[in-house]
Symmetry: C2
């Protein structure tokens, strides 16, 4: 177990607190850049409510709408310039992970005297950022309460994530009701994303704290228990609340305490998204079980057994390898039957001739050689091939 620092000073308002947004925002200044996505946040009325609340608090609002999924560096550049030109004091992101990530990197770009893509391509450090407040409308990326953000560059076919303490949101307004309007597919993709955040941490080279293992198992059980419920009944408050609270804790620094983390599926998915503008959670849903099968072996079986028993109630009395396999099958069952996500990529959207390049970039950008089970390019290609047709791994 490694030493670690845990520091996540985000003020989290959970539930019916949106009216506090004005007062909270006013702590940081008067000129607000309000970053948002496309239609849904307007259709639900949330966007107008926020505008009203900010205006009531006597704040001047500048708007930057139209963040898309797999958000682009171009909009970050534009937002950074907007901040400089208009002397913005504070950035608020209202929407899903893409919006919040964009808001964070705009906040960092406001003080950058270089092209913000260099935060990603050159590892330029964030020394200063505008304060950020998040109002998530999905339970998925956990971006609302962490210091990371993923940005794409379609010109270079890159999708890269970076962290910096300066972009950690000052406050987050988590109202489960704001996720009622998320459709079945996006709810399922969000569930797959947060399931994956925990899985990537759970399967780690470092033995960490048992206490955190039990927390991770609890969160995975929570996702399994409530995702299908939220898909079926979008306004199930209990389900939405559990998913929303889990999304944040899955990736705010707690569960990875004391572990060196090198993730496996996320780096591969990022390359797929960069190449095909794929929905992040969908890519992960297809990849996860294939990766699990690929890295299951004598040395990893015990961990997979524990996962199966604790998360899915697989019997403790069957042989280790059988229990391990059962855990993977139950994961497939959850993703593909209960959440009705596709189990394979179609040949129309994903092209085998790209796999060599995708694998090369994933191994490099994701440091996959040091992952839970070391992945070389040929391993990534094998996992990707398994995503194209049933059971060839």
């Amino acid at each position: 177990m490694n030493s670690f620092i845990y520091y996540t000073p985000v003020k989290i308002y959970f539930g019916q607190y949106l009216t506090e947004l004005g007062k909270e925002a006013a702590l940081y200044g008067r000129r607000v850049l309000l970053v948002s996505g496309r239609a849904s946040v307007r259709k639900s009325g949330l966007y107008d409510r926020i505008l009203d609340i900010l205006q009531e608090a006597d704040l001047e609002v500048f708007e930057l709408p139209c963040v898309k999924a797999n958000p682009e560096i171009d909009l970050v550049r534009k937002g950074g310039e907007l901040c400089k030109t208009n002397e913005i004091d504070l950035v608020i992101g209202v929407g899903g992970g893409s919006v919040m990530d964009t808001a964070k990197w705009i906040a960092a770009s406001a003080f950058a005297d270089f092209d913000p893509w260099r935060f990603f391509s050159r590892g330029k450090q964030v020394t200063k950022a505008l304060p950020v407040i998040t109002v998530p409308t999905t339970a998925a990326t956990g971006s609302e309460t962490n210091a990371s953000g993923v940005i794409s560059n379609s010109a270079t076919k890159d999708k890269l994530g970076r962290s910096a303490s300066a972009i950690l949101p000052k406050a987050a307004f988590l109202d489960p009701e704001n996720t009622f309007c998320v459709d079945a597919f996006q709810t399922a993709c969000g569930a797959a994303d947060m399931f994956s955040h925990i899985l990537e941490t759970y399967f780690s080279r470092d033995a960490g704290l048992f206490m955190l293992d039990t927390m991770m198992e609890g969160m995975l059980k929570t996702i399994v228990r409530y995702s299908a419920a939220a898909v079926e009944k979008p306004d199930d408050y209990e389900a939405r609340a559990n998913l929303m609270w889990t999304a944040g804790w899955a990736i705010n620094g707690l569960i990875g305490s004391g572990k060196q983390q090198v993730w496996s599926c996320h780096p591969i998915e990022h390359e797929l998204s960069a190449f095909y503008d794929m929905t992040h959670g969908l890519g992960l849903a297809v990849l996860m079980p294939k990766w699990m099968k690929y890295v299951l072996n004598e040395s990893t079986a015990e961990r997979f057994r524990r996962f199966g028993c604790q998360v899915f109630g697989v019997s403790e009395d069957i042989p280790v390898m059988d229990a391990a396999r059962q855990g993977i099958l139950r994961t497939e069952d959850f993703l593909y039957r209960e959440l009705a996500l596709p189990s394979l990529f179609s040949e129309d959207e994903v092209h085998r001739q790209d796999f060599e390049m995708i694998a090369k970039k994933a191994v490099w950008n994701g440091n996959l050689k040091n992952a839970y089970q070391s992945l070389q390019e040929e391993d990534v290609i094998a996992v990707l091939n398994a995503c194209m047709q049933e059971d060839n791994v």
Copy 2:
């Protein structure tokens, strides 16, 4: 489920980070009041290491040693005066819960123009406090990372806890090695204390978040798994680390999110400590199973069943009430056999003629009529009587 605010901005250094204490302390000023307990922190060498580190960082250290268990308001008064006289910038508490609680309330008293006991007796609000840093040497009260503290007044036979965001520590240095020297009895008492913090939250009138139920079950399992190990092998790093990390998360605001909390055993124990200067964890260890048996009934059985199955692996296939009882028996087994704590109070130390007054104060100070199962004075007396002889409840 209620709306809630979660905000615990403590910078937690976990593991080998003590050398950072000087830099961290210097953020808040140059004049430090170092609050500590009695012998053990000196014997282990930790106290001298801290003095060296603070002096190396060019800080001026004022010392306030000799905090005792069930810490007294007198020392808080004295510390508050010391802060005023010496223009202290920062209070550091190195020791167990009593030391850290004393440090916190000294920090608040530094700005009080009234007797600090009024924070407790009259509910005077804390409007301002000196910054506090904690260096815990036990895994028990969780005081290192929360905004609460319990202070006794032997003159009035009171022991009262209060919370205030201003006394939340700015930073906490959690090194499991600093708990290696905690003896078997105190290790067991610490385990009972944190077990109780979770139990008091787990058994609540409000249905909260399932996700937090699973986290609480995980933490309880962690305590059960590692306490006996730490008692047996005091320098078992894995055990000490798991216990230390659990102690904080058991009572830092997370697991109670969305629940109205009115505790049961703690208020009764506080009166016992006030009357008899009892060790807090020992009082809780005796009380907990008696309270559990007392409030077990048709309406609470399902919750107790869940507790038994999830924490102690009681079979899910037996009748609800049987599983509930099994959970309580396993708790007794854990506390009295594995941790070797006494299961009863002796007639020498606890006197039945005080029970009426103890019950009256517990019901009033603890708001016990609104607890998980409403407790009137006669209920508290019945629980206390059960603590004097085997199985009379």
